[in-house]
């Protein structure tokens, strides 16, 4: 499932526990990421789901739900 796969990436990139992550989690506000962490997270999502996320779209992805919506629409 997409959410599970994404959770794995987030856990690996941001060094957070699985139970800290839910659909509404904001990377920066809830998961202790800074702006550089988010850039790296986006790169990992691009690699994993084999998509390209232009910078202007990436700027709008701030929560887990944002990421899932984007992947579903563009995969």
């Amino acid at each position: 499932m997409l959410f599970d796969k994404l959770k794995e990436i987030i856990m690996d990139q941001l060094e957070v526990e699985e139970d800290e992550i839910n659909m509404d989690s904001s990377f920066q506000d809830d998961l202790d990421a800074d702006s550089l962490d988010v850039v790296e997270l986006i790169m990992a999502i691009e690699d994993e789901f084999d998509i390209e996320i232009p910078d202007e779209d990436a700027e709008k992805i701030s929560t887990v739900k944002d990421a899932i919506d984007y992947i579903e629409k563009n995969q």
Partner: protein, 413 residues
């Protein structure tokens, strides 16, 4: 009035041990930390040996997420700084942070990160280069991260003078505390350049030993059969402190820093000036700064890289400055055991001088077997000696013609 400056803490990550006690017992025993390179495949490399840090677990010192955002040289710097502060028994909650500084040296910075990310650029394109690439690689980031970890809000800078970096860092820290601009400075340096590019580059300069069959014997400073330096890695960190501040909190004082000298060869990119005249001037300046006679010096921890020219010219410089006393004082190169930590060399060697004074023990130059007619001093061959040390000099000489010497003294009230 000038403040007096003392060494109150020591932290070490090195090829011969982690932590002051492990490190010092290896140095006393004359143990070699050199072995085959395991970090990368050395197929095709002329040099296949180095002094790698073993059994280092970064998460013992740094949170995993933070550690991922740091190059290896910063791991070593942060770990050794934490060990040094712990050793100093400073209570970081009760100091003036504005007068708490961090001044480190590194010759190259985050080279491993550079190589990894360059490979990404070539294989996956520019959009896959990590946003952490720059902040991980830049050479000043160790001092930056150490200040973050310790809350040190005072003087903070990084000195880059190749293999003299850490000695310059210690010397500059000494002067900053001496003039009253800081009370405590965490200083020394870190290096982690056992990487394909660094080993290949130094090999092409014909600067490195190719004694691959006998790693433990490869680093042999002042020996006639020396054939180049052996790379080491790690960090050597000292806590320097205003004497009054140290006395007020009852700190253990390893030694007092009393002299600093530096000079430039203004001669050649990599070759030392004839007869080590630049090294001579750095040592002379340190002796004058301390306002002592050359004959007061008991021990010199030499730069002693195990290259043909360095060891010959450093010996000549010592003879020019110390005259007859050159044959009476003891000179050793602990690089025979640790390898050459490049920009961090002065850090661990500064620690060694402080430990030598504190423990009344002069460490050996190991692997010394055959006398070279150009190197005819007492290099403390193969076995250290128990001896009182009142004054010790640590020399560091770097590519670019940078020469730096610090002079430490046994502390007396």
């Amino acid at each position: 009035m000038k403040k007096r400056v003392v060494v109150t803490g020591i932290g070490i990550i090195s090829p011969v041990g982690i932590g002051k006690d492990n490190f010092w017992s290896s140095i006393k025993e004359g143990k070699s930390g050199i072995g085959p390179i395991t970090r990368f495949d050395t197929e095709g490399f002329p040099t296949k040996v180095a002094g790698e840090v073993k059994d280092f677990n970064v998460t013992d010192y740094i949170d995993k997420k933070e550690a991922k955002r740091m190059d290896r040289f910063t791991h070593y710097a942060v770990a050794a700084s934490k060990l040094a502060v712990e050793d100093s028994k400073l209570d970081l909650e009760n100091i003036n942070n504005d007068k708490f500084g961090v001044i480190l040296g590194s010759g190259i910075g985050g080279l491993e990160t550079f190589e990894e990310q360059h490979e990404k650029l070539l294989n996956k394109g520019p959009r896959r280069v990590s946003p952490f690439f720059i902040p991980m690689m830049i050479g000043n980031m160790a001092a930056g991260q150490v200040s973050i970890m310790l809350g040190a809000k005072g003087a903070n800078e990084t000195i880059v003078t190749a293999c003299a970096s850490s000695t310059n860092a210690i010397g500059d820290s000494f002067k900053i505390i001496q003039r009253g601009d800081a009370e405590i400075i965490v200083t020394g340096g870190a290096e982690a350049s056992i990487t394909p590019m660094a080993v290949a580059g130094f090999s092409s300069m014909k600067a490195m030993s190719t004694n691959n069959d006998n790693p433990g014997k490869a680093s042999r400073p002042f020996d006639k059969n020396r054939d180049g330096f052996v790379m080491g890695e790690g960090a050597g960190i000292l806590v320097l402190e205003d004497l009054e501040h140290a006395l007020k909190r009852g700190a253990h004082i390893y030694a007092e820093v009393v002299g600093y000298g530096m000079s430039s060869d203004a001669y050649h990119m990599t070759a030392p000036a004839d007869n080590g005249e630049g090294a001579f001037r750095a040592m002379e300046m340190a002796v004058n700064d301390a306002d002592i006679n050359p004959s007061d010096v008991d021990y010199i921890n030499a730069h002693g890289t195990s290259t043909e020219l360095n060891d010959k010219f450093e010996t000549a410089a010592i003879k020019d400055l110390f005259k007859d006393h050159a044959y009476k004082l003891k000179v050793s190169s602990t690089k025979s055991m640790t390898g050459h930590l490049l920009g961090a060399a002065g850090g661990i060697e500064g620690c060694i001088c402080a430990l030598s004074i504190d423990n009344s023990f002069i460490p050996p130059t190991i692997n010394y077997e055959t006398k070279d007619e150009n190197c005819d001093l007492d290099y403390v061959p193969n076995k250290g000696v128990n001896q009182d040390v009142n004054y010790a000099i640590s020399n560091s000489l770097g590519f670019g013609g940078h020469n730096a010497s610090i002079l430490l003294k046994k502390y007396t009230a």
